[in-house]
């Protein structure tokens, strides 16, 4: 029984679908067409079916149904909670780049205005320098410094939002390495479903593309860690065991990502066992 969007056609007789565009769009999705014996529809069937009067009306109705279906599908595609998180992480990383670039630039500029000023032997963090420049400079320089501070504040807010959103979208992964790093991993992989399909060895070096390809091409030592280095248990680990920690951590992350993708809720039992394993890997005198 060939089903078309406007109705079911059966040996000469035809039952039109009733309902508005959205309902018809919903029904079109359930039609199972067998392409082996498929014959493309003839729009005049819809007229003889009593569905419409002429071609203009046929196209008008068809377009309404197709728009409803496409808008529904686009919405469903974006409903995957990771899509927005992806953009949030990328925005965060770009803000970091912009803030660093601008800070460097205005410091150079400030040095021209203050010939006695040098950054040597000073431990002033960059954001405090920016504040000092804002307070001491008039005109455009002070203005730009103020803008950098505003941008930094927005960046802090965004980072908090990324972190809390990641705790919801990636509960297991976030429990192991924290929301921000979990979100970065997801963004590097290109989405949660992509991350969940990666082997642990790939997760371990995600974000270390340059080092990885240098290793493959010119046999430099292989990278031990990529994005996951940002996690304290990796960068605080003694050098000797850092590789082991990141390897074990990556192994557990691969499982966590799959739990997040396919189950979507935190698994306390898994998290506890994984944490113990990762902590054990960080013990230096493990024989």
């Amino acid at each position: 029984m060939p089903g078309y969007w406007f109705g079911d056609v059966e040996a000469g007789s035809c039952t039109p679908f009733l309902g508005d565009a959205r309902e018809i769009a919903g029904r079109v999705r359930t039609i199972r067409t067998n392409m082996g014996s498929f014959v493309p529809l003839d729009w005049e069937l819809a007229v003889s079916c009593g569905f419409c009067h002429d071609r203009a009306e046929y196209l008008k109705k068809l377009r309404e149904v197709c728009f409803a279906a496409a808008e529904r599908d686009v919405r469903e595609q974006y409903a995957g909670k990771d899509t927005e998180l992806l953009h949030m992480v990328r925005t965060l990383d770009e803000m970091d780049t912009v803030i660093n670039l601008l800070s460097e630039r205005i410091m150079e500029w400030y040095q021209i205005r203050q010939p006695t000023f040098s950054r040597k032997y000073r431990r002033t963090p960059s954001h405090l320098m920016v504040r000092k420049i804002r307070e001491k400079s008039r005109g455009a320089l002070g203005n730009v410094a103020g803008q950098i501070e505003t941008l930094s504040a927005a960046r802090t807010d965004l980072a908090k939002e990324v972190s809390s959103r990641a705790n919801r979208v990636l509960p297991n992964t976030s429990a192991l390495i924290g929301g921000l790093v979990a979100a970065r991993l997801m963004a590097q992989a290109g989405g949660l479903s992509q991350l969940s399909r990666l082997p642990a060895s790939a997760i371990q070096v995600l974000g270390a593309k340059t080092a990885l390809f240098a290793h493959i091409r010119t046999h430099t030592p292989s990278p031990k860690h990529g994005v996951i280095f940002q996690h304290r248990r990796v960068h605080n680990a003694p050098r000797a065991v850092r590789g082991r920690v990141s390897r074990v951590l990556a192994g557990k992350l691969a499982i966590a990502a799959r739990l997040d993708h396919y189950r979507g809720v935190a698994d306390p039992g898994f998290i506890e066992r994984a944490q113990a394993k990762i902590d054990a890997a960080g013990m230096e005198d493990k024989s």
Partner: protein
């Protein structure tokens, strides 16, 4: 096809993608659109007002808008949500475009919506482009045409484009399509070829 001197244009409402206007018609740039490039380097299929077209790989609706200027109805199939949003905006202003969000490799997804067409136009970045064209040729009327924009680099980056081109031609003729024309789109698009076929 409408030419003003050496420039290909299409009659319709402008401003879709900031295209230039010439004599009240929209300039159809061969560097942006592979179909326009085909009309510049080869013959192609003349688009005419009674034509119904199935367009696979509609993307942002740039080329679709030009095709719709010439033809009666365009069924525009696109899979990705981001370009689909742009395509929907184009289709809202051009009443002969039917936007369909579906996967061109799975014609059963849109089989209940699409009628028999005079022209099948395909421009998709997939490895099995010939197979997709053959699978979708069920929508073609007898004597209808297929224009396949072959992205050789999407088929297999390790193979020579010329080899991919020949393989695709073989696959299409084995499937019973008659090849009318096959040209490279140099200098407008690199490693892209256009293949024009007829369904006997």
């Amino acid at each position: 096809m409408k030419w003003i001197g050496e420039v290909l244009v299409s009659p319709g409402e402008g401003g879709v993608y900031n295209e230039r206007m010439l004599g009240g018609a929209r300039v159809w740039d061969p560097f942006r659109s592979k179909l326009s490039a085909l009309y510049h380097v080869g013959t192609g299929i003349d688009l005419s007002s009674p034509m119904r077209v199935l367009y696979l790989g509609a993307a942002n609706g740039t080329t679709v808008s030009h095709v719709a200027d010439y033809t009666e109805t365009v069924y525009a199939v696109e899979f990705a949500p981001r370009p689909m949003q742009d395509l929907l905006e184009v289709a809202r202003r051009r009443e002969n475009i039917v936007p369909i969000m579906a996967d061109a490799t799975r014609p059963e997804q849109y089989a209940p919506l699409v009628e028999a067409v005079d022209l099948l136009y395909q421009d998709v970045a997939q490895p099995d482009q010939a197979a997709i064209a053959v699978r979708n040729s069920v929508f073609l009327k007898k004597g209808g045409s297929l224009i396949l924009m072959l992205k050789t680099r999407s088929v297999d980056v390790r193979k020579e484009p010329a080899v991919v081109f020949q393989d695709t031609l073989d696959l299409l003729s084995t499937a019973g399509l008659v090849i009318l024309e096959s040209v490279w789109l140099e200098p407008y698009h690199h490693d892209h070829a256009a293949i024009v076929c007829r369904k006997p």
